[in-house]
């Protein structure tokens, strides 16, 4: 396996609701692509989390705030940074789920949940991180992408 991308990003609360684009190049047609992705911390608890949950309740429930449970019932709050993938020929899916440690494997005929199998042409690919929620002071994301060259490539 050849490592085609390895990077660490420190994501800040200001980057909530933005996409972080990580372009990479496949130097050959691949038979297998493996994405290893982790981020930490995952959760925020206690008083700071309560404050954020209450702000969310006041903003979105508005005048109906009293019909909702207490802010503490929504804890812990979670960072959520999901990952999507583009091949040179288009969108290859997304892993929209909470796990802060993920491994995704794609081949021509199979793919991990959320992703679309298909040919893995050499060329310009793109991984994107989607900062759906960033509730801690920062969050560190680590991405590693490895590729295995196709045998008749």
């Amino acid at each position: 396996m050849t490592t085609v991308l390895e990077t660490e990003l420190r994501v800040l609360p200001e980057q909530e609701k933005t996409n972080l684009i990580l372009p990479f190049t496949l130097p050959f047609d691949a038979q297998k692509l493996q994405i290893t992705y982790t981020y930490a911390p995952k959760i925020l608890d206690g008083a700071p989390a309560c404050e954020k949950a209450e702000a969310c309740l006041c903003r979105d429930a508005g005048e109906y705030r009293d019909t909702y449970p207490e802010a503490a019932d929504y804890l812990p709050l979670k960072n959520l940074i999901t990952l999507s993938l583009d091949a040179p020929d288009g969108y290859r899916g997304c892993a929209h789920r909470q796990a802060p440690q993920q491994i995704h494997i794609l081949t021509e005929n199979t793919a991990s949940p959320g992703f679309l199998p298909g040919k893995m042409q050499k060329g310009a690919w793109r991984l994107m991180l989607h900062v759906h929620a960033l509730v801690t002071d920062f969050c560190v994301c680590h991405v590693k992408i490895e590729a295995q060259e196709a045998e008749n490539g």
């Binding site: 979105d60 109906y64 959520l80 789920r97 959320g114």
Partner: protein
């Protein structure tokens, strides 16, 4: 000509391809057990489950993807090409909706008043839609407790205000089904009105496009005019004889623990004004309405759920009257 039939469907489902607990096979099996004839597969930001699901016949599956963005969740159904969800902006949603329609897709608004980020990321609808005629359907009831929940009441109010502005938007129920644990009112569904006795994905799509939907906690409830017009149609104003049908047979077959006792049939029109209210008695009832031009009229079934009175049991999409 084939008759219109009403098929119980679940229009909002997730699997392991996003953050659901169901495998595709488990989702299909559970839908089958709940006597659902059709489902929409709407995993967050992916259509990866469709390859496995699309060959299912009981239930049939209409493919889709819930755009799970920072400013709202929008199920997109049967779009022939990928339209990018990742660069949707609060003021740019109309353009995205046009692109979706250009690819033959349908778009709905999911749970518009769910709490947003960070509690349910992007769950609150913040998009500023300029032209609501680009929105095909609106989830007026989400999850399983359609009648006692602030966010559903707000969604129904939003829908009513859009109808008042002249937009024709189909109402839907969406369980936002991720797992069986914690499901309330397991009989709740959207009934889709389709021609013929067999439901197809194309029929589901046509029903949503033509506003042939009934949102229900369980009972099937709809109306027809003497001339055969029904939910979603555009008809002349004036005197109109309606026949209401209340059918609890699916609820009975499901052996759910929930009980539904219909008490009242109501018809609402512009401004949320109730223009008819009659006691619910039996499967078939008739009434005569005097319909004003350029109005909407929707029927609702009210009654008891699990012994508690004053519950909405079903809401039909409106029938619309022609402009003068």
């Amino acid at each position: 000509m084939a008759d219109l039939h009403w098929f119980p469907c679940e229009l909002h489902c997730h699997t392991l391809h996003s953050d659901g607990d169901f495998s595709v096979a488990e989702l299909l099996q559970t839908a089958h057990e709940r006597l659902l004839d059709g489902i929409c597969l709407t995993d967050h930001n992916t259509t990866a489950g469709l390859a496995e699901a699309s060959c299912s016949r009981a239930p049939v599956v209409l493919g889709g993807m819930e755009w799970t963005t920072y400013f709202g969740h929008m199920p997109v159904l049967d779009c022939s090409a990928y339209v990018d969800w990742r660069d949707a902006s609060v003021d740019g949603i109309d353009e995205k909706l046009r692109q979706i329609h250009a690819c033959g897709g349908l778009a709905g608004v999911a749970h518009p008043f769910q709490l947003g980020t960070p509690i349910c990321t992007g769950g609150y609808w913040e998009y500023r839609v300029r032209d609501w005629s680009l929105v095909d359907y609106l989830e007026i009831w989400s999850e399983g407790s359609p009648y006692l929940n602030t966010s559903n009441r707000r969604a129904i109010a939003l829908w009513g205000s859009l109808l008042d502005r002249g937009y024709r938007i189909a109402p839907t129920f969406g369980r936002d089904w991720h797992r069986t644990a914690g499901n309330k009112l397991i009989s709740a569904c959207t009934y889709l009105g389709c021609m013929g006795e067999t439901l197809t994905p194309a029929g589901m799509k046509t029903a949503l496009q033509s506003g042939k939907t009934v949102v229900s906690a369980g009972p099937l409830f709809y109306f027809k005019t003497e001339r055969g017009e029904t939910v979603g149609d555009v008809i002349p104003a004036g005197r109109s004889d309606w026949r209401f049908v209340t059918d609890c047979s699916r609820v009975a077959r499901m052996q759910t623990e929930n009980t539904f006792v219909p008490k009242e049939i109501r018809v609402y029109t512009n401004g949320g004004r109730m223009c008819l209210c009659l006691p619910a008695e039996g499967e078939r009832q008739t009434a005569t309405l005097d319909l004003e031009p350029a109005h909407w009229y929707r029927a609702e079934l009210w009654g008891e759920t699990d012994g508690q009175g004053g519950c909405q049991l079903a809401v039909t999409a409106p029938i619309y009257t022609q402009h003068p």
